[in-house]
Amino acid sequence: MTNFRHIKKGPRRTDGALIVTGRADFTGDISLPGMLFGKILRSPYPHARIVEINTEKAKKLEGVKEVITGKDIGYRRFSFIDTPAFPADQTPLAVDKVRFVGEGVAAVAAISEDIAVTALHLIDVKYEELPPVFDPEEAMKDGAPAVHETIEPNTTTAWEDFGIPSTKSRPYKAVNNISNRNLIEYGDIGKGFEDADYLKEDRFEIPSTSHMAMEPHAAVASYQPTGKLDVWLSHMGFEHKRFWLAKLLDMPISRVRVHKTYVGGAFGGKISIFPYEFIAAYLSRLTLRPLKITLTREEVFCVCPPSRRMIVYLKTGVKKDGTITAQQVKVIDDVGAYRGSSPTALYLAHVFRNPIYNIPNLKHEGYGVYTNKLYTTAKRGHGLQQIVFAVESQLDMICDELGLDKVEMRLKNFRKKGDTLPNGDMLRSYGLPECLEEAAKKIGWREKYGKKKFRGLGIGTASMFSGAHNFPFSSAAMIRLNQDGRMILYTGQAEFGNGVDTVMAQIAAEVLDCPLDYVIVNSGDSEVSPHDLGNWLSGGVFVSGEAVRRAALDLKDQMLQHAAAGLDIPVEDLSIRDGWIIPGSDESKKLSFSDISRYGIQMAGGDPLIGKGFSKCVPEVYFWKGKFNKTASLSSGKGRFTEAYGLTLAIAEVEVNPNTGEVEIVEVVLADDCGTPINVKSVEGQIMSQAVMGIGDVFYEEVKIKNGIVMNPNLLEYRVPTANDIPKITSIIVDSYEPNGPFGAKEVGESPRAAAISAIANAICNAIGERIYTLPMTGDRIMEALHSKNT
């Protein structure tokens, strides 16, 4: 397929004019008549019992409409993962005790934000301080303070609500603060290490970084007296949000409408329900008035979960020629006060390495550990950059010690197209070796490696799902033909900068062979769009895009049927070209899309012509009543999870100033196997975006927490890359054609970041001839490494 009309091109964003004129409405821009403002009072202690809260004075302040505490809301628990084994552990406001500095204890609704803030100061909270625990490895020891008491679920879990057959919910007692764990094994790890000629063992530590989405988190909720809730949120897909709002407010899901908004960046951080979102809805229901909560940047840094902090113990065995024989991994995920998505992250920290290297014998154990710190969540490659940083760092050290070529060693251990992974996932497309060859050629690896002092080259790899069978388990789309021959496409996809509206329009217009502006996209509105996976686990194009493709095919089929009847010729003799339906032999009888719409209404009983399509990632995994085909187990790693993996290979070249520790990036090359790029410009944008985010990860970014307090909650102290920090970045798209993806497409939104981080980190270590086992690689850490080498 080479003569695409819209695919593999780089059309302008269909919503571009809205963005550049400032007319795109983000949640913070929504203002409703009679709207109130909410603010949340937050705990100053990392661990304390709430003895008493007195809200009387606050309630008496003029302009205050409502004051609530955790006791008013009660134990309505939520979590990203809520299963019988790992029941939800978080409440919108702390009920009996606070577990991190910044946790909400009370909330105010008032006629202005100013009055709401004033009212917070009139709330009197008596705390009884408890000993906190901050270090996850300390928290795992006997006798450490317990962050959680036994959690007694008082509702069914989300897992059961979805209809997944499971044992009854049970109380969760965190022993030694372990919030969750997994153990994944295959092959024979003992024999694998025996077969090795060389063993390497290391410990790596990866800090939290902030998503630092430009839009501070906000929610507008408007509860109607009819029992309906309208919300405007910063989100990555409405299904999780409305599921949790409905569950926590005890109302039908269908009565919660998540409206379309533009979202000012998400990067994995806006999937789960946030306490402030529930509080906005709850206060709106109490006051029967619309209500807005906007977090300050400081609140975003201090109370919204950043990326996962992980300690990775890694042991790898290799043959003299570099063949990997076994790998043992122990991951400690310092989850903070609440478990959140840790069960997923611990699983992903295993599974994302799977499509890259063929490791015949493996043991991967993971522990989520509660501490009295800000809880953590997914960020662009959930668990991916943490495991990749450890594995790629260690492989480089192994190559150095055995004198192996780092490119050849990796090529030797890569998987192959057609491989089946240990959990049954298949690599129907696999361009990673080609990515490495191309990137090495582009940067001049063989000519440059080891030639210049304090210059270094490094390689990073990464893989990422193209969607998984997570709730709501599939995506659907509808496309409706209008009387003017244009079509409205309904998809639940969320536009948060990914360009998804344009990509979906391209897919539909490609199927219907018509101009792009024939397709008007209505996205991200839960009352209008059919169900949708949302834009996370990178399933947007692969799953929802395929649903759109099938919806367009369905409409096309209906249009051709009507055209055949209207022209009285066989449907096989018809084709669609350039927005016209053309009878094979006679162009003069061609019909417009508008003609078909009229035919449907006048001649086919009023047929409105609506196409529908749907797509389920991993269809063979299902459950319904007694029928049950096992879903993937996060705990044991068994079972299918996705249909296609996107892959990235990055190579970086850097030069280090040995006197100052300053690093100059000479070039970063990222070769990405995303299958067919639907929108080439958007794909390049995703790669560039992640390379730059990776630069921040390597050089500056860390959410610094001391005694439970976020020490750098602003953009002066939490530095992100600016326009002055951008080196030469080259992207190469390796189109491997994924047979199951729409027009051959798969993931691109998450894997490049991890590959970039490892490549740059390895290049720095290569330049200085010394290993740094953590991030960020600041100037002082580099100097310290150089000094330790010289002493």
Partner: protein, 187 residues
Amino acid sequence: MLAYHLNVLDMNLMNALIRDRDLWGEKWRKTMKRSVLLSVNGERREVFIKPNSTLLEVLRDELLLTGAKEACGSGECGACTVLVDGKPVNSCITLAMEAEGKAIETIEGLSKEGKLHPLQEAFIDHHAFQCGFCTPGMIMSAKAFLKRSPEPTKEEIRNAISGNICRCTGYENAVDAILDTAVGTEK
């Protein structure tokens, strides 16, 4: 434990001290409000505001011009950039009263006669935005910059927008868009 109080409990207090007049009472606040005449995108607009209202608050909440965004509230990110007498300012740390009698330009005033400004067209052409939250501010910075440096180098452009943080794009497409506009203007 004092540190906790200073740092966090009173993150709210700090906000209040800096931005919240209510600590000193509703009455004080009401009496201190006054009428100010602003010129926004060539239109004269009378607003009734508090002395410490920021320009951003007045633009967004009083005049409903929501193109300029608040992302940090402390002048660190540039998302709230508007022009005052042609100069880019962080409107989140500019008092509205300081802008009295000066020409205020916002993203809403950029397109004329139903046509987008060349910078706006170039930003779309070059895929110079993703989520778009920082875009209005960045375009306003670029507009002021091109006026004073009509023939810039890429390096100068990077410098000019280095106060506008973008978390999505990696900046290079925006630099190209601005360069392209400069070249276009020259012709």
